[in-house]
């Protein structure tokens, strides 16, 4: 039986494999190069059912006298097929290869004699879970250590304000705080508007639409204003801190600071945290103002006067509510900047490290902000504040 599969037209003679099972002989002719199709080897593929090649076992001769060209990838195909046949119990002997091409095949064969590595073993579910838990524990410890250093540097900066890099603080405050006001205000305005709409749909049945103003006032100032600000800043400014510091770490700038005997936390993280502490409460106030105006748009559209809405909304914002708002915004400002900086300074090596640090910073920030907000809600309830 002869199986001949031409490889297609070309300037060289077409590549073909003629296999004669009776003679246990396969003749390969033409140019066996990187462009050779895999179908050329089909006659020598082991039969899956019998694990033999065209019913033969034992020995097979591969005659390469007809080859007109051979490169390393062609050699790889030959050696791969020989290896495959060997695993199926067929010993292949090669013959007839012209001397100039035999050099290439020999070079390939020699290269493959070097000890190679095996794929790393797959990690089981239990080991993977264990590794993840250890990583979370180490991560938490790193975060606590970093926070400790930051607090010490912060307290030190209060004692020696002149040691703080105020130019950096001013720049960061503008870029990550002042420039964030429009987006924070827009999101807050829309959230205020949505709350007012949803509340009005229910309260209008009992004719108490005016209490929408009270609800918007309390919800925005006490809860949503600080929360929206923190989440937007986590996505906008915290991620920027992670990316910026991660890139500095990759460029060995952080190492340069360390070898100068300076503290990266003090030089890089502290100015950003201070800027965030100073600007986040102000940005939060803008967010509260915009959120209340969002509710105002709904109520005025329903026929209430601006003055009525405003008086009603503000009446619910007591000094305590306002203080809670500012307190939360300070906490969130610290958390967002600190976690963003910590993730950047802890970035690994490699091209994906900055991206990973940024993603990790945003995710950690949002989770931590949500957890802290929940804890504060419970505490304020318990303390009846």
């Amino acid at each position: 039986m002869n199986n001949a599969i031409p490889a297609g037209p070309g300037p060289e003679p077409p590549l073909s494999l003629i296999f004669d099972p009776q003679k246990r002989l396969a003749r390969l002719a033409g140019a066996l190069t990187v462009d050779a199709p895999r179908s050329i080897w089909r006659p020598l593929e082991p039969d899956k059912a019998s694990a033999s090649v065209a019913g033969i076992n034992g020995e097979l001769t591969l005659d390469l006298a007809g080859l007109t060209a051979l490169d390393l990838n062609g050699s790889a195909q030959v050696l791969s097929v020989i290896n495959q046949l060997d695993r199926s119990g067929v010993q292949v002997s090669v013959r007839g290869l012209p001397d100039d091409l035999a050099v290439i095949l020999e070079l390939a064969r020699e290269a493959l004699k070097a000890p190679t590595a095996s794929p790393p073993p797959r990690i089981g579910l239990i080991e993977e879970t264990g590794r993840k838990l250890v990583a979370i524990k180490n991560d938490a410890a790193t975060l606590v250590t970093f926070t400790g250093k930051l607090v010490i540097d912060f307290l030190s900066s209060l004692r020696h304000p002149s040691s703080v890099r105020w130019a950096t603080v001013e720049h960061v405050a503008e870029v990550s705080g002042v420039n964030a006001v429009p987006i924070v205000a827009l999101v807050s305005l829309l959230v205020g508007l949505i709350i007012a709409f949803q509340s009005a749909m229910v309260l209008k049945f009992v004719g108490l639409e005016i209490f929408v103003a009270d609800m918007v006032g309390v919800a925005i100032v006490r809860e949503l204003g600080p929360l929206i600000t923190a989440i937007v800043l986590a996505g906008r400014s915290g991620s920027a801190f992670s990316a910026e510091l991660g890139a500095m770490k990759a460029a060995e700038e952080v190492d340069a600071i360390t070898t100068m005997g300076l503290s990266p936390v003090r030089e890089l993280a502290l100015p950003r945290v201070l800027a965030s502490l100073l600007t986040t409460p102000v940005v939060t106030l803008f967010a509260c103002f915009a959120g209340i105006w969002g509710g105002c748009l709904v109520l005025t559209a329903m026929g209430y006067s601006l003055l009525t809405y405003w008086q009603e909304a503000i009446s619910m914002v007591t000094g305590t509510t306002f203080n809670i708002c500012i307190f939360k915004s300070i906490i969130f400002g610290f958390v967002v900047a600190a976690i963003g900086c910590q993730r950047g300074l802890a970035a690994g090596d490699g091209p994906g490290a900055v991206g990973e640090a940024t993603t990790s910073g945003v995710v950690t920030n949002i989770v931590v902000v949500a957890v802290i907000d929940s804890l504060l809600a419970v505490l304020f309830y318990v303390w009846d504040i």
């Binding site: 990187v34 050779a36 179908s39 990838n73 790889a76 000890p115 190679t116 590595a117």
Partner: protein, 267 residues
């Protein structure tokens, strides 16, 4: 196919410029012959890497033509660009390995994308290429986990993936210690001799130039072109122009303005 058509690289009247800025190099003419290691030499800022970007088709020449194995790269509005690109390999200065892929996957990728080889043959070929550059045993390492010299070797293995007859190397010895650099030089010579590969090497490392380069051109930004061409040993013997002497004898140029005027006057 005549001999001219088979020349791996032929450059005719190449003018190198960025955007609408004045050209940095004008009317370059040279060829890389079959099986030779060809050096594109020059000091920092002389435009040698810019020439390379023109040769590999990343930048369209302001004027002139680049022929890869006889095919004008930019003919017919770039129709032949990718055909030409597939006929050479390229090693970037920092390796440019894909950071998320291990070395085996880095080398396998071109084979998977551009050939019809079976997965087993692709893996065999990739392991072989890595072994040829001395990286057997490092197949499953990510690029970030190996040294700079090993990254350059892996980048050469990737450049070898499709068995091109032409490979461009951008500063292969830059940032390497003398031993690693000598190893890389030896590898390039071995590949050129055993596989008949032509190399276009951009470098300013005189040690490597003397070790591996068969023929070279020397670029000078002041002269806006090639100031010398020939075997490195012959170039090192030249007594004129001053830039060539300063380059090959590692001497500072005392008055660049006067020298460039002199160079221009002689041209």
């Amino acid at each position: 196919m005549d001999k001219t058509m088979a020349t791996p690289v032929r450059v005719e009247g190449l003018t190198v410029a960025y955007g609408q800025n004045p050209p940095i190099l004008e009317n370059l003419n040279f060829a890389i012959r079959t099986g030779e290691v060809f050096g594109i030499l020059g000091g920092s800022g002389s435009g040698k890497s810019s020439v390379l970007r023109n040769l590999i088709g990343l930048v369209k020449p302001r004027a002139g033509q680049v022929f890869i194995f006889g095919q004008d790269m930019w003919a017919e509005e770039g129709r032949w660009l990718n055909v030409c690109r597939r006929r050479f390999g390229m090693m970037y200065q920092a390796g440019a390995l894909f950071g998320s892929l291990n070395l085996l996957e880095n080398v396998s990728m071109p084979l998977r994308e551009f050939t019809d080889m079976s997965p087993a043959a692709v893996e065999t070929a990739a392991r072989m290429k890595l072994s040829l550059v001395g990286l057997a045993g490092f197949e499953y390492y990510l690029p970030v986990r190996i040294s700079g010299g090993m990254q350059k070797r892996a980048a050469i293995a990737r450049a070898l993936a499709l068995d091109p007859k032409l490979i461009f190397l951008d500063e292969p010895s830059a940032g390497l210690d003398p031993i690693t650099s000598a190893g890389l030089d030896q590898l390039i010579r071995t590949l050129a001799r055993n596989l008949g590969i032509s190399f276009g090497v951009v470098t300013h490392e005189l040690g490597s130039v003397m070790n591996i380069v068969d023929r070279a051109i020397l670029l000078d930004k002041a002269a806006k072109g090639i100031v010398a061409e020939g075997r490195p040993a012959d170039l090192a013997q030249m007594t004129w122009p001053p830039y060539v002497v300063a380059f090959f004898h590692r001497r500072p140029l005392e008055d660049e303005g006067k020298i460039s005027e002199a160079n221009n006057a002689r041209q």
